[in-house]
């Protein structure tokens, strides 16, 4: 579904991503992990069209999408959530999701009423229907994360990019959010590329993990393979924690 090859991106003198390549198969949940500054969010920004890659190729459903603007990438079926939620603060939850319904998927000439009706469905799915008339600025962090999920789902994505969806959530909320992501995958048949720092969650959720360090791919494999890999332990905890 998604094939990334030889991806390079630098900001001035800083090489943020260097020769990164991996693929995501349809229906998979792939975890993208690494220490802070490893280049995970940059990869996500490159895939979602926020940044343009210096070199390399990003192919989605057999089509080159590198260099396309975000809205065209969204129309091809890729949507994302943000590490720090970026809601439309002065808009209600319902209006925010309505924007996605009207502009995301292929729904020509849909009326505002129909779009709001469909947006209600996504809000109901993430458990925010009761807060549909609440301004985003009045929602708590968990609700903001759910709103971002609803907004992304409303664009009818084939591939969902989750950027640290569990950051700042307490264990109870994280567990509910994980259930929600699983049921979204099951109900909408989406594929997920997921950046996460909460190892317990990502190891339980992902079928495959890609580890980045210093902008380069370190390891790729199943969660079990990755968690036992010396290079990963060294990258996260330092050399003295590696058991030979």
């Amino acid at each position: 579904m998604l094939e990334i090859q030889g991806l390079h991106k630098s900001f001035g003198g800083l090489q943020a991503v260097s020769d990164v390549g991996f693929s995501v198969q349809e229906g998979e949940i792939v975890g993208l992990i690494g220490p802070n500054g490893a280049g995970k969010t940059t990869v996500m920004n490159l895939v979602s069209g926020t940044f343009k890659a210096d070199r390399g190729s990003i192919r989605f459903m057999g089509e080159e999408i590198s260099g396309l603007p975000s809205n065209k990438i969204c129309h091809r079926g890729i949507c994302r959530t943000y590490q720090i939620p970026r809601p439309f603060y002065a808009m209600t939850a319902l209006a925010s999701v309505t924007v996605s319904v009207l502009n995301g998927g292929h729904r020509p000439n849909m009326s505002l009423f129909d779009a709001s009706f469909e947006a209600s469905y996504y809000l109901e799915f993430v458990g925010l229907f009761a807060k549909r008339d609440t301004l985003a600025r009045d929602l708590n962090l968990y609700e903001l994360r759910m709103l971002e999920l609803a907004r992304a789902l409303a664009t009818v994505p084939k591939l969902l990019l989750l950027d640290e969806a569990m950051a700042g959530l307490n264990p109870g909320e994280a567990s509910r959010a994980l259930d929600m992501i699983w049921s979204a995958q099951e109900q909408f048949g989406i594929t997920i590329l997921w950046i996460e720092h909460v190892m317990k969650v990502i190891m339980a959720a992902a079928q495959r993990i890609v580890v980045l360090q210093h902008g380069q791919k370190l390891v790729e494999g199943t969660p079990k393979e990755v968690i036992n890999d010396e290079r990963v332990i060294k990258a996260y905890l330092g050399g003295r924690h590696v058991v030979h």
């Binding site: 809205n71 002065a90 998927g105 505002l112 008339d133």
Partner: protein, 347 residues
């Protein structure tokens, strides 16, 4: 027989099987027809005083400039400090074609639309390139540069004196009737702009506009073609502003860049925006009437009136920081009503 019933917060009128409810507190009088009716009946009270009619015609025109500006500010997510550029372009296009080529006002109207659209389209990439303060500074400079051109090419634009003697839109024979007719024409123009802005705001496009105004990167990620929207919402309101220039030319029959292009004129527009609520269409009407009346009241003060407007502007910035304006604060019914907050962004 109509039966009236007084409840705690409303009056209920019953006629046959119908029921009409009127909430007593004026802030809930949301029906714009009340306002329209008042404006339509206004000349009946003041038709003997041409000065008042001119003042209210000016108010209508100020509102007709501010309403599209609000639409533009939300649609481009940028604060435009020089909408009067298109007022100048529209006005001079109409005036020059009418004076030198003898074009009928209808033809000058079409020419104004074409000219404003072409120039706005040419300048529209600044909505992509220039962000935050840079956009505001560029738009601030453009009308001033145009004003300089009117002095440099004084033979054509007649510099400080301006162009005079353009053909009128209507001539009813009597001066009073002409004043009344121009009031109604300006009111029709303003109400048409209000209707357009209101329809856009309440449609699917309005929701998309709000998203662009809130966070254009996120809106783009949700499939909104932000670049196309920005071009449209830069060009379309510019054309509407240009039409006001055309209207001024064919009603007042005089047009001088020195009146409309300097910063003083923009100051009035800014006050209207701050008083009426930033980018809030209905508030623009209240703001415009306030400014037009204030301008007439302080005129006898002489040179002091140059200080009054900047002071009012500073007071509005300090005391109305949330950007909802006096009208917005009073009129907002639900906390969930979308109220565009315009910010000068860094990104």
């Amino acid at each position: 027989m109509v039966k009236f019933e007084l409840k705690r917060d409303r009056i209920i009128a019953r006629w046959r099987d119908r029921k009409y409810e009127y909430i007593i507190e004026p802030r809930y009088w949301r029906n714009p027809w009340i306002g329209v009716l008042l404006l339509v009946l206004l000349p009946l009270a003041i038709f003997r005083y041409p000065a008042f009619l001119t003042m209210f015609t000016t108010a209508n025109l100020l509102a007709a400039i501010t309403i599209p500006l609000g639409l533009q500010m939300v649609g481009t997510a940028r604060v435009n400090f020089g909408p009067q550029l298109y007022l100048g372009i529209g006005g001079y296009t109409a005036a020059l074609l009418n004076l030198h080529l003898g074009w009928h006002p209808f033809l000058t109207f079409l020419a104004t639309i074409v000219m404003c659209a072409a120039i706005a389209l040419m300048l529209s990439p600044i909505t992509w390139i220039a962000k935050g303060l840079y956009f505001s500074l560029i738009t601030l400079i453009l009308p001033l540069a145009f004003l300089d051109l009117t002095f440099i090419y004084g033979d054509l634009f007649r510099g400080e004196v301006g162009l005079v003697g353009m053909s009128p839109l209507l001539d009813l024979g009597r001066v009073t009737w002409n004043y009344v007719s121009y009031y109604y024409l300006s009111l029709a123009l303003m109400l048409f702009y209000l209707l357009v802005a209101d329809k856009i705001g309440r449609s699917r496009y309005g929701v998309t506009l709000a998203a662009i105004n809130e966070d254009e990167d996120v809106a783009r990620m949700m499939g909104v073609n932000v670049s196309r929207n920005k071009v449209f919402y830069y060009v379309f309101p510019s054309v509407l502003t240009g039409i006001v220039g055309w209207f001024i030319v064919h009603t007042f029959r005089t047009f001088a860049g020195v009146t409309y292009l300097p910063l003083d004129y923009m100051l009035k527009i800014l006050i209207i925006i701050l008083i009426g609520g930033r980018a809030y269409s209905y508030g623009a009407v209240w703001g415009a009437y306030f400014v037009a009346i204030l301008e007439d009241v302080i005129r006898p003060l002489g040179p002091i009136n140059y200080v009054v407007f900047p002071l009012v502007l500073i007071a509005a910035i300090v005391f109305l920081p949330r950007g909802e304006g006096i009208f917005g604060l009073y009129h907002k019914r639900h906390h969930r009503d979308y109220f565009p907050q315009l910010k000068v962004r860094r990104n």
